[in-house]
Subunit: 225 residues, 2 copies
């Protein structure tokens, strides 16, 4: 168990979120019971096999979840951006580890409270169900990514990130090339080379390494398989 666990409670402070008139958006009900906590860049939020005491929602920043194979290879399960919920588990333990990618604020919701609430409120239960569904969908889409070529994976990744950055055809990447590589099951070099390739074929523009402009989304979609 990481020392992070101790810091968590001491740093937590309750947020007085106002109840809203239309509580239909996911997590709306849930926000009433959250406490926001800051995490520094690369800080562990929870570890694999730890008891799943909380459920988390990104307020600001970005989070990655991952597993490490016994020989050190790391597989990133997902990236979470503001508004995303992560750490939802059906069992009693976390099956991935979670770390902040950049300095982040994360809302913690006690799992026990939520489950108790869900047993009384059909709406909360439905929200929990939806969150689990979203995770399942994400995992399945991720699987589809991993059977593709390097070009298709990178193109797919960029499109996925773009879809999550509404009304912008440029993507600000909070994560490193290594993170992207471990998400896509490629090496850092292959990711780098593929981005260069895409830039040369005028599909994207890379003004800075963390900022990617999607010049030709149609080409990317075609590459995406």
């Amino acid at each position: 168990m990481p020392s992070q666990m101790i810091a968590r409670n001491s740093q937590a402070h309750v947020v007085a979120t106002m109840a809203r008139p239309a509580p239909q958006a996911m997590g709306e009900t849930v926000e009433l019971m959250g406490a926001v906590m800051p995490f520094a860049r690369n800080a562990e939020i929870y570890g694999e096999n730890e008891p799943a005491e909380y459920l988390y929602k990104v307020v600001s920043g970005a989070v990655r979840t991952y597993r490490v194979l016994n020989d050190g290879r790391r597989q990133i399960g997902a990236f979470y951006l503001p508004g995303d919920v992560f750490g939802i588990e059906v069992g009693e333990q976390h099956t991935f580890s979670a770390e902040s990618i950049v300095d982040s604020k994360v809302m913690l919701i006690k799992r026990s409270s939520l489950l108790a609430l869900a047993s009384r409120s059909a709406d909360v239960a439905r929200q929990l169900w939806t969150m689990a569904a979203t995770e399942l969908q994400r995992a399945q889409d991720h699987t589809m990514l991993l059977i593709k070529t390097a070009q298709e994976r990178v193109a797919g990744f960029l499109l996925e990130m773009a879809k999550r950055t509404p009304r912008a055809n440029a993507v600000e990447l909070p994560m490193s090339r290594q993170d992207i590589a471990d998400y896509l099951g490629l090496t850092i070099e292959t990711v780098s080379r593929t981005l260069t390739q895409l830039e040369n074929s005028a599909a994207i523009e890379v003004p800075t390494s963390r900022r990617i402009v999607l010049r030709n989304q149609a080409v990317l979609s075609r590459l995406n398989g």
Copy 2:
């Protein structure tokens, strides 16, 4: 919508499953409301994007779920063996297609009835939750498989199948090499070569192409990463 849908109801016959004293095993409650239907080898059970009207439980035989990319590549999402539940969806539509691998019997449970029942029974709701969890777990483990080398994927697949065939250190594979390849994100040739390799290194024995004896599970586990 496939013509299968019509055949389904006409062929269905209600099974008078006896209520058991200890309804703690998953699907026990649910079995009361099932109708068993036979599917011939390679028959479609449901198609991607069809409304998810039913939830399914394998009674005998074997089932595969899959998606096809626009260029024809097929990714198998999972294999389901007797006792396994599949087709559980959180949205309103199926996100994979499902086919019987061999002649199979499948129990169909009406989704609407089940959801109605779940809203009244906490136990049924928990069962639904557990099924979704199992799917999520499966998808995540599948993801971990796909970042590995060919040897590791095949070894992992064999161990997975063995784990699902209790008290037997031999595996009877209902699926073809092509199915295995599409599950592991490899080509049929690579699967075949890898099995030969494993056989030459005395880790397994392949008396017939569909039967695999695990000679040295420790070696396989080490290969599994």
